[in-house]
Symmetry: D3
Subunit: 178 residues, 6 copies
């Protein structure tokens, strides 16, 4: 690893906050934020967070399922917070949470979240490069990080890179329920 | 259901093809298409497909995990094809596949896919409304549609709307592996 | 010509379909799609089609007159289909047709069309390069291609590159009417 | 006609100048301005000019052929000048000329032009409305306006609204060449 | 004042953090962020902050001078932090500070700041409305707020709404230097 | 100085006119043009004007305070006119004035103005370069240029590059009022 980059970095080091105002072109014919526009912002917030943690360029590898349960309206304000949850060898999992409030303020409510993965890319070789471990600092961060290996297996199965029978963590998780 | 909308519609009825040219503002500092921009287009293609099938306005409910394994370059041409796979009561699952080729053509290669779900919304009441069933026409369509209930359970578990122990299809799928 | 590019290609080889959803920023103060935004999409669809046929980069040379007889509304879905009609030495004529339907579907109606020409550009020399001939496959394609030389003369006259008296095809066409 | 709008207006009344800087997203993979983006600006400049002349909302009816003979580069500055040439009953022909220079200045060169037509729309009835005549002020304006009826016939023929044999002006023009 | 809005709010209540990645279309021909794009983001961040403090819609009234001393590059990450400094009767002064770092992280450096003013607008009457006072919490906040009345006089003079001789605070400030 | 660039240039040489139509994405939730979008256009118009005067690339150095007293509405037409007022050694002050009218025309009214400064950058060395002096041609231009040194002192004080006690012109201006 690059000498100037430490072996591990705390979650707070790369925490990224991004606030956006929903403009007309972000909305669908119902006047709600289009899901795809939100995903675009989530990708940008996640990328910046991953780049800070890894100290390198990063490329989006995957986005886990995203739910759009509550409509977000034209003129609403959304705040995306991206934090790293777990570092694998050359890639990092990032949790992006979206809070929404009206323009006039009020209590922000959680509207969406996603787990995304990014791979660190060396600027010279354009190859994946090793990245710092994640130092979990709070109970909440640990809770988010705990199922990271199961999420990874779901990703690998659904993208055809792992057979379901090889998903040891997932199988243990389901079998324990008896 | 609206009298003018039939009880079922074939997949071909709503198949949607969308071709896009990767422009400078779609790319990250490495000159590759940003994952989030691709997701935005996938959402638009999926929405149009779902709207055609349902004959109504639709709202994005969820996007399953998306992989970004191959970089797509500035000036490349991508073709998104969206087809419905399965209708639930008021929502529909849509499969969006992305093929990429260079501007000069050549054999397009598959670069990404996603399963997305959309809920049909009645224009007057703004409430979810019943939608037509999906008539599967080809073997390929049937293969895509078969694991739809397992995908749905994964979505429900990961979004906290179902407990893992209630995911009957998923549990059967994993337990069968012995 | 580049060895890897055949002497002729069928129309179907480069047929390009592009679907777009009319968003707020695409509309004028009456809530209709602005003509210029439609022309921008026609240019992109035509470019991609020409690039596929020619197997090279292309540059827009001209757009024939475009009519905007029917208003296209915010939230409507348009489908642009671009097909080659005739290859000249280093340039190709492309026909772009625009069909419109509401977001909820219904029978798409033709709203616009244009004939555009593109010149193929060699990536290394940045000079125009020879292109494959067009293999017309259907009666409809032949009907579209038939007046191509007259359209070319109109272009040359109106752009000042040909004198009206040298427009042999056009003059024959008008004189035959007696 | 609306009392506050005179029976005729000079060309200078509605002359519209629009300057734009070519940004990365306006360019194609060769680094040149995309034809479609230029057409979008021509439509905006033409609309504003037509709206000023007519004193009403306007809708683009047609764009005559546009040539893109000289590449316009990233960072270049273009100046679009739109002037009315001829008023028909409810529609007006507008001439849009595009001059290009580098960012550092130098002598601007003409790179493109187009004749466009717009119809005036009454805000209340949304129907076409009568518009002021055009007062031609200079020899150059008269020269531009003179072939307006022939251009109109070309438009009508090419859009299928007039048969070639009914194009009296065009036929006279071609027959006079013997 | 609206019953649900308190008479005063601490600075922290409305502090707004906005992170942006510099994309190709944000840059000038030198590859640096265009000043105007940065001002657009400063306006959005400032508006959101003002809207939170006032609990209402807000309209930008003025932006004080902005300096662009250090170039910000394509791919850099900027973080805008907006905090209120002083409430006048119906308007609020907001301080927006911009920190810049490379995509790979490193120590962020301050690159710009601006003082902006926004007026609170009642949604029903569309008239200016009274707003909460600002509770300054830290020494740094107090230092920023202290010259607020002098800044206001500079604004009023330069916008022609106050004569220089009536600028009591400014005159006192300059005369004290003897 | 570059041989091809004269020692001085008249204001008219670089006068830049830019007309824009307010589109949905330019507006805030009240349907008015966002201040930041206007500042972005002012920066582009000012940059083009400065580039023409200097005959070189330019970078925005500062924008003096801007007032947004009158709301500009969706569908309005704005005309920005940028003219140079004073050349310093390597930088130039530009005055940008914004006139607004409805789409249907009517008497345009002044809605905003700003003084901006730009530094000329040599394309090869990327260093500031000497620029031509400004030839003031009209009484109005002279009136605009007269307080240029006071404006410069305000900029230098507010950006922390000059102490208030060193602002000779400003102090003289205030002291003369007795």
């Amino acid at each position: 690893m690059d000498n100037t980059i430490p072996n591990s970095r705390p979650v707070s080091f790369s925490r990224t906050v991004m606030t956006e105002l929903i403009m007309p072109d972000d909305t669908n014919p119902l006047g709600n934020l289009m899901g795809g526009n939100l995903m675009r912002w989530m990708d940008i917030a996640g990328s910046i967070c991953a780049g800070r943690h890894c100290g390198s360029l990063v490329v989006t590898v995957s986005v886990d399922h995203v739910n759009f349960s509550k409509p977000i309206k034209l003129g609403d304000v959304i705040t995306l917070t991206a934090t790293v949850t777990k570092a694998f060898h050359t890639s990092v999992e990032v949790y992006v949470e979206v809070m929404t409030s009206s323009f006039e303020g009020g209590i922000p409510e959680k509207s969406n979240h996603a787990f995304m993965t990014f791979v660190a890319i060396d600027k010279e070789t354009l190859q994946p490069k090793a990245i710092p471990a994640v130092e979990l600092e709070t109970a909440e961060q640990k809770k988010l990080a705990e199922p990271a290996s199961r999420r990874r297996e779901v990703r690998l199965i659904l993208s055809g890179r792992m057979k379901a029978e090889d998903a040891t963590d997932l199988r243990a998780y389901f079998s324990q329920m008896g």
